[in-house]
Amino acid sequence: MSISVRNVTKQFGEYVALGDVSIDVAEGSLTALLGPSGSGKSTLLRVIAGLEQPDTGNVFIDDRDVTGLAPQDRGIGFVFQHYAAFKHMTVHDNVAFGLTIRKRPKAEIEKRVRELLQLVQLDGLAHRYPAQLSGGQRQRMGLARALAVDPSVLLLDEPFGALDARVRTELRAWLRRLHDETHTTTVIVTHDQEEAMEVTDTVVVMNRGQIEQVAEPRELYEQPANEFVMSFVGQVNRVGDSFVRPHDFEVTRVANSTTREAMIKRIIHLGFGVHVELVRDDGEPFLVQMTRDEAEGLELQEGQIVYVRPTRETTFS
């Protein structure tokens, strides 16, 4: 089902969490709400879910105005950052909760719970309590619980934020696969640009309660709409009035009319890539990325003087 948010504002006291926000989420898409903390992304997700009431504006799910509806009546599934596991219930009962509430026949519930636990690879742990699970397992349970009621839209609020890096990567890939199979319209809130770029089809970049840009991951990186998006999505150096990505520099050992002098402060080896921290002749620090082979070919050393030239610059008027 498609989601549409129209002119939504939300204030908490004096603080403006959302200032006249409108977005459209296409049916069957996987969309990220990306932004720093305090950008309003979680509030927007909670407004879509009905867990927060907007001060003004409307929310539509599948062209139906749901603004006045309680979360119970919106046909959504919600996954919380800190799992919100029902601590006094087993994994089985957690997942079965939505179906039990709907008074489905027992056999049907059992069948569905078994399927879902298999899907999230928790089949052996049905009788454990949440306290006996790892963070990653708890969040998989949270996903199974949300999916149990066949939601028309799935909303995830920083679902992998509290997990360690390895589990996070695993679950991201798993979520992408799940979406490719089910095509449930999914919105995921994240502050991690890598997560947004890796998992989703569309990224909505938010800042201070406003939407800065809506684009596909690649377009977002290559054609950022403004300074904020450019510097939030990926690393960037400021050169006068223009911005240069760290990999858009040419580094040479000999000067010419287009190059600028800089001194190498630090060289950081990251496997395939090398990060070189430099200081320009006017004292400005900046960062250059190159491959290991390039760095070796130039025989770079810390304290060395090199000459750099940006190969691609972006300017915002």
Binding site: F78, F86, A146, V149
Partner: protein, 265 residues
């Protein structure tokens, strides 16, 4: 263990023994000083049995009412979003700060012959003072805060996420309360009920003022102790005291059994 820590433990134990255990031990000793029979006779006295019955009746009404009120009050204080929340929070503690005698006197002023409700009550032939209703009212008043005091911090700690998760899964407010909120705070509620019960059984001051202490009618167990003491029937006074003390010990044991559960939940 260092010398100073041993010293600290001894000091704590010594203080507790002197203040708490000493008097209780004396009670045991004196109750049975003249054999079990004196205490036993006093406990079998029909007025004493009636006194225990009155205490129990008052507790049986006050405990469920205060449990219900405590849970509702806790929900209002923690989850509610209205003006005057702070006021409720402060008022709940009032019975802890107020001397029970003052509670008794204020009930007297309200329901007595010249009180606000007194005239109407007399006109309609309703007996509140010197009867069970006043004992119940006084008991409810003094034992009011305990469930709310236990429930409030627990509700704060569990937060709202589980409840919100239940909403998104289709549960109504009522279903969420029964299936999510109440099970999450159950140990706090049980602990509060135990404390409330102990307070109800032990209440003396407020009940002494409003009940009139009529033997075999409005006398409660604690008032009965006073009565026996004044009549110089020491064996009886000690016996009833001991029975009350034993109930308190039982409550204490129940509490220590419940506490680890509360932490594990």
């Amino acid at each position: 263990m260092s010398r100073s820590r041993i010293g600290l433990r001894l000091a704590a134990l010594g203080y507790l023994s002197l203040i708490l255990l000493g008097p209780l031990a004396m009670l045991f000793y004196r109750a049975f000083a003249h054999g079990v029979s004196g205490a036993w006779t006093a406990l079998n006295d029909k007025d004493t049995i009636h006194a225990f019955k009155v205490t129990l009746e008052a507790a049986c009404i006050a405990v469920p009412l205060n449990t219900l009120f405590g849970i509702l009050c806790g929900l209002a204080i923690v989850r509610g979003n209205f003006r005057g929340k702070g006021l409720i929070n402060a008022f709940v503690d009032l019975p802890l700060a107020l001397s029970p005698v003052v509670v008794g006197v204020s009930l007297f002023l309200l329901y007595g012959r010249t009180g606000w409700f007194g005239h109407w009550l007399i006109g309609n032939n309703v007996q509140v003072l010197f009867a069970l209703p006043s004992i119940v009212l006084a008991t409810i008043f003094v034992s009011l805060p305990f469930v709310a005091r236990e429930v409030v911090p627990t509700l704060r700690e569990i937060g709202q996420e589980q409840e919100q998760a239940a909403y998104t899964l289709g549960a109504s407010g009522w279903q969420t309360f029964w299936r999510i909120t109440l099970p999450s705070i159950r140990w706090a509620v049980i602990y509060g009920v135990v404390l409330t019960t102990a307070r109800c059984l032990g209440e003396y001051g407020a009940v002494a003022v409003v009940s009139g202490s009529i033997q075999g009618k409005t006398e409660t167990a604690t008032l009965r102790v006073q009565e026996e003491y004044e009549n110089l029937n020491y064996a009886g006074a000690y016996g009833i005291s001991l029975a009350l003390a034993l109930i308190a010990v039982l409550v204490l044991v129940a509490m220590t059994f419940l506490k680890p559960h509360e932490k594990a939940a």
